[in-house]
Amino acid sequence: MAQPVRYLLVGASHAALSALQAIRMHDPDGSLTMITRDDALPYSPTVLPYVVSGRSQPARVALKDESWLASQRVELRRGRTVTAVDTTDCSVRLDDGSVLGWEKLLLATGADPIVPQVPGLAGVKFHVLRRLTDAVALRDAVAGTREAIVLGAGLIGMHAAENLVKAGVGVTIVEMQPRVLAGYFDAEASALIETTFTDAGVCLRLGRRAAAVAAAGERIQVRLDDDSELVADLLLVATGVTPVLDYLAGSGIATDRGVLVDDCMRTSAAGVWAAGDVAQARDFYAADPGARIINGILPDAVEQGRVAGQSMAGDPGLRPYEGGVPLNTYTYFDQQAVSVGRQDCGATVRSEAGAGRYLRIVMDADRLTGIFGINSPFDPGVMWEIIQRRIDLGPVRAAFLADPQRAARGVMSRTWR
């Protein structure tokens, strides 16, 4: 085995890049290698719906280019998959059989789509959307498609459905929850979003599961749990994601649903950190500081990556992770839905819906725990900060409820200017 690298980052997306930048702030020279199974420059899964729609060109989505990587003295190994981790002799094995030693290892392998156990699904050609190659395949498939079925009404399914319907495809979304985007919005907001989609011609089959899938000539047939049948040219499976953990088998690194980490993103193995969609980390809202969740969002991958990078480099400026807060922005048919925080950790103190607008504020006593809006102007980043700092909004409560954006900017100016 050759000389071990000082830092080995597995993954080249948001968590890994954020760690890389944090490392370089403190250690400009330590040798650093980044590995990605994708044969591409670093890119974000979040941009993929726009690759599908044609708004983004695959050649223009790279988050960092070669010259930047060179300037940061990063060796990027593309198209290589880590197949095993050995924490005793501090090495990883790659899919070409080679072995690479490390002093400090970051697991930032993100998540893969969950493919549900539906009889017949494995026998047909279906699409998922997580990797750039998936997006290009889906984009290319849309051309010859008249009708499509989307399994799952989470963000990925909803984005894809919008793209498809805008491309003139007839779309049916099948979702087992009684409403769309159940993880992100409450029933009222979901209802507003559903109306927009149905107005655009999307057919929603809510509260339904796919019971069986079969090929029907060139087409695909899906039978639902109410025995109704759908037929389409294209099937997209977007029923959720799960951390990429297979390569950790036998490594001894403690996992639950994801890789378990402490507030410095350290795993149970010495010299090994994890961050992003693969990590299961502190829950900001849980009373029990030991509770661990997978937040699965881009801003948190960035945050966790920064903490991991600082910790790996021994940066004394490290501020430990405060815990995951759900944060989502969702633009659909030129409307803006934003959710910051949780709906179920306090009482609703303002709620209004109507005329394409929606706003809900949830507080626990005088502390903000969540704010949710559709076409309602407020600054998500300022709200995140207010939640995370547990700011006492008592003195400005009335003003905050009346005009959250203005009052929150006032709090900002008094508190962190």
């Binding site: 948001h14 890049l17 954020s18 930048q21 702030m25 974000s44 899964p45 979040t46 941009v47 719906p49 726009y50 708004r55 983004s56 223009r60 989505v61 790279a62 988050l63 881009l298 801003p299 960035v302 944060l327 922005t329 633009t331 030129d334 803006q336 934003v338 910051v340 102007p377 600054d379 998500p380 980043g381 300022v382 995140w384 900060e385 400005v396 003003a399 954006q405 203005r406 009052a407 900017r409 006032g410 709090v411 900002m412 100016s413 008094r414 962190w416 200017r417």
Partner: protein, 457 residues
């Protein structure tokens, strides 16, 4: 990474007129609807909140962008938005804790400040000075490339402001310099070296406290005779300048010797055990003005050495502070140029963590507060223009905000604080009066100048 220019906001000067927002909207969108401005100043109770891109050094909006549409430009530090790459996902707005990048309904995408390519329109129309475009970064970039002419590892106290002054000043003045550092903190921390090794990379010597300006006079005259252009520079403490070194200083100034004399004023003899000097302010604890059963710190007010130097009708006199580096550098440049023609005197206030008793990380903040409270006034004098204030003195913060951070004033009672307040107010009026040319002292200087010109012609 270089330092960058930035838009600064002082809410206490803002009258809420809204010109900045209307102008920004006009420049960026062609209509004066403030809602479309990239800068938003809103009132929340008695707070004026500023929502504006801070052009962060480590921007989260950029890290959160999945489409590579945001980029922190290394050249000018601006976070640039590329509309051809933006996918409207709004994740950047989640990363920004300053309301600096927001969705704009009219534009149908996020908008943010681009500082108008270094000439921000909002700043141009701000009539109260609440918005300023700080270009201080320029000096750090320029000076950062110059060689530090002091050796590394000087043994100043932790957080020493004087070390900062020395290193900055000599970097700027450059290698063609003979430096005099009379007894005080400056040689104390090693300017003249240890064990036969010098602490500077330029010729340096250690005059007596009493003869700094006369020795420099001789050196400068000798170099001129040899036809060599060499800066003769003194870095002296307030004791060495105002007390025992004063007669040679006054003599050299009166004769118009071509010297740059920098007084680093830390209000006492800090190197030898924190004794009082004539620059120590009223009420201050020092080891010779103790605080106890009877003692209440110094019982006299400080003498105003820079004003005394001005009355020598020097080529250039100025006061400066490390809390205001842009101003300090401008004055250093002018003082250096003036020292080619005659005597230049620069008085730099230098808070002392050890002798004034405050935490070592607060030095610049203390320096800034001294100026913001008008305890220290920033001005400059040239024979042609007379005395000019270089910083507005009409909106001081309360003097107790300054006094209370300093251990040497901690014992003061209300009456003593009032005494200091009154002295600060007298000095403010005195200097303002000089600046407006109404003071008899200015009239006398003007008359001297007229005589001078008359005599020469």
């Amino acid at each position: 990474m270089p330092a960058y220019n930035t838009i600064a906001f002082r809410p206490e000067l803002c009258n809420g007129c809204g010109d900045c927002m209307r102008t920004c909207a006009e420049v960026k969108t062609g209509s004066a609807d403030s809602a479309n401005a990239r800068i938003q100043i809103s009132a929340d109770g008695d707070t004026l909140a500023l929502a504006l891109c801070r052009q962060c050094g480590d921007p989260k909006c950029v890290a959160n962008c999945p489409a590579a549409a945001l980029d922190k430009r290394l050249a000018d530090g601006v976070i640039a938005w590329d509309g051809s790459k933006c996918v409207n996902c709004l994740l950047c707005t989640v990363g920004c804790a300053y309301g600096g990048i927001v969705y704009n309904a009219a534009a149908q995408h996020v908008v943010k400040c681009d500082t108008c390519a270094g000439d921000p329109a909002c700043v141009r129309v701000c009539s109260t000075g609440a918005l300023r475009y700080l270009t201080t970064a320029r000096i750090y970039n320029e000076v950062g490339d110059l060689e530090d002419l002091f050796a590394p590892g000087l043994s100043g106290c932790q957080g020493c402001n004087t070390e900062l002054v020395m290193r900055h000043a000599l970097r700027r003045i450059g290698p063609d310099t003979v430096l005099a550092t009379p007894p005080g903190c400056i040689p104390g921390m090693g300017s003249v070296g240890y064990n036969g090794q010098t602490g500077t990379k330029v010729p340096v010597f250690h005059p007596l406290l009493t003869n700094t300006a006369s020795m420099l006079t001789g050196i400068r005259r000798q170099y001129r005779r040899l036809g060599r252009k060499v800066h003769a520079v003194a870095l002296a403490g307030d004791g060495g300048a105002a007390d025992v070194g004063f007669q040679s200083l006054s003599g050299a100034a009166e004769r118009g010797e071509e010297i740059l004399f920098i007084c680093v004023d830390n209000e006492g003899y800090m190197n030898t055990g924190m004794q009082r000097s004539s620059c120590t302010p009223f009420g201050a604890w020092t080891s010779t003005t103790p605080v106890g059963e009877r003692g209440r710190g110094k019982t006299q007010h400080a003498k105003n050495l820079p004003v005394i130097m001005m009355m020598h009708n020097c080529e250039y006199v100025a006061t400066a502070s490390t809390g205001f580096m842009e101003d300090l550098y401008a004055k250093l440049d002018r003082a250096l140029a003036a020292s080619e023609r005659g005597f230049a005197y620069l008085h730099i206030y230098s808070p002392c963590t050890t002798g004034w008793r405050f935490p070592s990380q607060d030095n610049i903040e203390v320096a800034r507060k001294a100026v913001e409270s008008d305890f220290v006034l920033l001005w400059e004098f040239t024979p042609a223009a007379g005395l000019q204030l270089t910083r507005d003195v009409s909106h001081p913060v309360s003097i107790s905000e300054y006094l209370r951070v300093l251990g040497k004033f901690r014992h003061l009672d209300d009456a003593e604080v009032h005494e200091i307040e009154a002295a600060v107010e007298r000095n403010r009026q005195f200097i303002t009066g000089l600046a407006q040319g109404q003071h008899p002292a200015m009239a006398r200087l003007a008359a001297d100048r007229a005589d001078d010109t008359g005599a020469r012609s």
